[in-house]
Symmetry: C2
Subunit: 683 residues, 2 copies
């Protein structure tokens, strides 16, 4: 047999199917890299990090045309044994940097060993997002100084990053140089570097350096900074997993419940903008500390944050007086995305060198939160016409398809979040979240957060004894109003009938109008929960604003119906689409085509945190979104007035008299402050 | 005459000689730009800035083959008249943006109207440096916001910078966004932007924005941060002119007179490095305020600083513990150039968005100051072998030519700066700076700073009455020691003879040795100024170190003589080359080939401040300089010991018994603390 007929062993990787021949003795990790197989490593193949775990297959693989013998890989070695003893290693797994090719072999790369893990799967049919974070952790071995070839310690670190990781041209982050020499010596010229490389090709920056191989996490914050609530999620930047979530009320509320009152506060009070900037930054620091504590890590391990918010929040966060946003032409100080140092935003609870990415704003009234919704929901990739409504104190509305996407915002006010409602409360245990009213008897039944029973189910009283029945949250009031209309308690203009008119003693006089008694807990020392005429009016105003915004965009596209509707927002995820349509919050659409995207803005923030490609993508998409300014559009007023009525006297979808079960999309833990409690209760 | 025979007017620019034909009505500025003629403009041709002044020539120009009629340019217009009335305009000058071509014309561009003014002319034969600063001022007209095409104010500013000035991709500097909207509106959508664009092609950064056309200056600081003295020069970044200079003692002196004592202080005292960092930063702020006040401007108009210093100063400035520089292998934390925000160095006296550029270090003992000397003196461009000695508490020594450049540093100590000398003082009025001793009578004569007379000239007493005669500065002590040797008062080992041995009563006993009485002012209540045996020893140690460093580099090149010697340093500029050679400070060389470069490190800082090309150049050159480490080189000790003697018993250059007059190179105003006073007196 001629020598040249002896072939090198064949290595086949699954699931990629990539294959190639390598000389015996080639580490599996090296073979993977040579073939471009997506196999992770933080330590660069030194048997330290265990990120390169692989599962060799043995036996016959007719599909691949190979038969793998028991000696296809080099024997289990001491490094692997040490790792297994110390950290544990699943049976059948090997370390790709230790196991070497010895014969034909089939190697499976498990999902968690892939660099570009697909982590953010928004819903069953949506595209998953692959990990491609700006901030990553790498282990390096740095050359020792040589006085005959003098170079700085940092230059040798940068050379190591370039040679060992292909990270070229790294620069020291703020505060690194004073610590650098001590860290390198403490680690015996090995170190773990946290490197940030943005999506625009700027010079990579070494944010942090820790001696030796550092096992601690590398975290980012995805922050949805809303007018009423602020939600933060601590994301592991290597796995994409949410490690902790927290929400708080936006402390700016004391300066004004809605955006325009805060703009007014800034206009009327010199230094008022600075006050609002200070409190929101303090709240973000509190949140960062809270999620770090929950995940049992430290703020110094949070190296990046992505923040989405509306333009007024955006400007106040940046320390910009929002006065221009309060008057035509609603000029933003800056509209493009921003990459900043966290310290420039006073975010001292994060690592001192942490970076912040703010998504671009679309226009003066359509902010980075709308951009984040667009990133999460991709209306620009939709074949059919989709209406996306991000429900909040200020609603962001997107309408379009591949052909064209329009956006506007609508000042709905905080009623949908339970504020400005007589018995309103944040979504927390004890809050009424679902309501049904019997059309014949006008008797209600309801469910409260924290209990899976309806109020007329046996055992309900016992099950809710702990939380009590304390008020009604946003989704509850929407259902209550819609049910009141369907059961004849409300006329089309929204007026509550008297007991005589409606035939139920639950309609009680209150001043010159009436209120509907949803629940009387006074016998047990609890509150009487009423839906007052004022509550109806508040919901009518809010839903009219939302509807008018959507209609305005539909006018712009010259259409009467949309193909599908996506309800988004920390709160939007919990709205019953059927009741929303009864109420006239959203244009009519086939109910099956009304879905929830959960907190799409927050999901967008998390996507941008985990994927540089996503940042580039949304920056391009935002430039192509056409923005419609509701504030100066006469038709908006017209639609608003016309939308005041509550259209559906009877249930338009009797076959769907149960709320649609919304998929839990993972990211919505936390949601807005109240939603957070609500989800956690269920989780 | 056919129509196509009618040619457009011919426009000829001098001194460039560039020429072209332009339609009648073309502004001269536009013609200049089309031809690539170097004609300045800050306002973009709007008749505001007057930077584009030109001088039209009339009459016959046989050399150019044209005859220029009186109507060759459009008539003097109202814009020019208004400018002349308001600001003045030299007779015969026109504004290039207002005067339009009407016929064949010859246009002279005066030096001050050139963009790339040549400003730093180091000496008659040296290459001049053309203005090419990283920071520049431009006037822009910004589009107003349009709510139907929403974009941020900053994006419209960036678009204006790109369209009107070719400055593409500008980003907001720290603190700009909160002020942006107010400034643009105050200026009626016109503004003056201060833009920083580094030499590495990073994104331009808008450091500041002022409403309308801002007439205020744009300044930079060139800082020579020495172990003993710190000198700062306020440079107009548009003209390159030094507007003010100041010097102070380095306040770190209280932690140790030389570098190694400061390193020891840091090692022995926890937090000692931070103390030294704090005081030097405070001193830089004081200097910035002082030069701003002297130039009647404000620190907020200082947008950039270039700092040169030795590695220990460099690390302490950056907040890096210098401990590694005190022990082999003398590892720098970072060796490459650094571009930083001034606020990161605590330089709060500058504009809040100011930038700082630190030249690269060559090695652990050869710093950014040596790099600056190399930038100013260009040994790498020298055809002959040049030895450059930057005299200071730590001497930087460069030796080489186009073929190869070597560098080392030598710890001379502060004796050359008048410290450690019994009657030593900083160079200030009243200090003896020049000394001659009659070989026959052993009687001295001298000059003091602040007076042009010698001490034996008539009127000397009256002329020095104000300052008094207070001590002896660095150049004075060098001359005194050399003259003492030449007049037989010292033996070759440096021992001062007794009155009996020397035949002069000026040699008086002092302990077990003798001292030479240079001046006795006690009758007038002034000091007795003696040169003691201790002074001689201090100078011997210092000069031996200097000499040994130079010899070590010569050994490395295998040479015995150098072609020329350049004495540099704030203090080096004032050393008499003849006396330096008598003393054996520097290797023998033809005296005519010993010149002064003044404060070459400071000049290098100023060059880097004014020229981005120079920054790129020195970064390349530094990488090619071969560094020799004196601290571990046994031959250094050998040379040091051998150099202890004072070689020349007789004047080796009797024909040159007057000090060489050194050219004033413009930058040396200020020099080290004392030198500043000295120069200012003369200026």
């Amino acid at each position: 047999m001629p020598a040249d007929a002896i072939q090198d062993p064949l290595v086949i990787f699954t699931p990629s199917g990539k294959r190639g021949r390598f000389p015996a003795g080639t580490p599996v990790l090296s073979a993977a890299r040579a073939l471009g197989v997506d196999l992770d490593s933080v330590c660069g193949g030194r048997g330290i990090c265990s990120k390169c775990q692989i599962t060799p297959g043995y036996g016959d693989f007719p599909k691949h045309g190979v038969s793998v013998g028991p000696d296809a890989l080099s024997p289990w070695n001491a490094v692997e044994q040490r790792y297994k003893d110390k950290r544990g290693l699943t049976e059948g797994r090997r370390l790709g940097c230790q196991a070497c090719v010895a014969g034909d072999v089939v190697i499976d790369v498990p999902p968690e060993s892939q660099v570009h893990k697909q982590v953010i799967r928004k819903s069953a049919d949506a595209r998953a997002v692959a990990m491609d974070p700006a901030t990553r952790r790498v282990y390096v071995e740095v050359a020792e100084p040589d006085m005959h070839e003098p170079s700085g310690d940092f230059q040798r670190l940068a050379a190591a990053l370039a040679a060992q990781w292909g990270i070229a041209g790294a620069e020291p982050g703020p505060g690194l140089l004073p610590r650098l020499q001590g860290v390198l010596r403490k680690g015996g010229w090995t170190a773990t570097a946290i490197v940030h490389a943005d999506h625009r090709g700027g010079a990579p920056r070494v944010l942090d350096l820790r001696p030796g191989f550092d096992e601690g996490g590398v975290y980012g914050l995805a922050i949805d900074l809303g007018s009423t609530t602020i939600a933060a999620h601590l994301v592991d930047l290597e796995t994409g997993a949410v490690r902790a979530s927290a929400g708080v009320m936006n402390p700016q509320i004391r300066f004004g419940e809605d955006l325009m009152s805060r703009v007014s506060y800034a206009m009327m009070n010199p230094g008022g903008d600075a006050e609002m900037t200070a409190v929101v930054r303090a709240a973000l620091n509190d949140l960062a500390r809270a999620v770090a504590a929950e995940a049992q890590t430290e703020g110094a391990r949070i190296y990046e944050a992505v923040i989405v918010c509306n333009p007024v929040m955006h400007h106040l966060l940046l320390g910009i007086d929002p006065v221009e946003l309060g008057q035509a032409p609603f000029a933003l100080a800056t509209s493009e995305s921003l990459s900043l140092d966290a310290r420039d935003l006073g975010l001292s609870a994060l690592n001192a060198a942490a970076r912040v990415y703010l998504l671009p704003c679309i226009a003066g009234h359509v902010g980075a939160d709308a951009a984040a919704v667009a990133l999460a929901e991709e209306p620009d990739q939709s074949d059919d016409l989709v209406l996306i409504v991000d429900v909040g104190t200020n609603a962001e509305i997107l309408l379009g398809s591949r052909a064209r996407v329009l956006a506007c915002s609508s000042p709905t006010g905080p009623a949908f979040e339970g504020a400005q409602i007589s018995s309103g409360q944040r979504a927390a245990p004890g809050a009424i979240e679902r309501v049904e009213i019997d059309a014949a008897t006008k008797e209600p039944r309801f469910r409260v957060i924290g209990c899976d029973l309806w109020s007329d189910d046996p055992g309900f009283a016992a099950a809710t004894a702990a939380s009590g029945i304390t008020g009604i949250c946003g989704s509850g009031i929407i259902e209550a109003v819609a049910e009141m209309r369907m059961s004849g308690l409300l006329d089309p203009s929204g007026l509550i009938g008297s007991a005589e008119q409606t035939g139920t003693a639950r309609c009680i006089p209150e001043g010159r109008t009436h209120a509907y008694l949803l629940h009387d807990g006074s016998a047990e020392g609890g509150p009487r929960i009423l839906v007052t005429q004022g509550d109806i009016r508040a919901i009518q105003l809010a839903k009219s604003a939302l509807y008018a915004g959507a209609r305005l965009l539909m006018d712009e596209l010259g259409i009467d119906r949309v193909d599908r509707v996506v309800l988004a927002g920390a709160f939007g995820a919990h709205i019953s689409p059927r009741h929303a349509m009864v109420l006239g919050m959203i244009p009519d659409a086939p109910l099956a085509q009304v879905t929830s995207a959960g907190n799409a803005a927050g999901t967008g923030a998390r996507i941008a945190l985990c994927s540089r490609a996503a940042r580039s993508r949304i920056e391009g998409v935002v430039g192509r979104i056409h923005k419609v300014e509701t504030a100066i559009e006469p038709r908006f007023q017209e639609h608003f007035v016309n939308a005041n009525a509550i259209p559906h006297a009877v249930d338009p979808f009797p076959e769907l008299a149960r709320v649609v079960t919304l998929p839990d999309v993972g990211f919505n833990t936390g949601g807005s402050g109240g939603e957070g409690g609500r989800r956690r209760r269920r989780g």
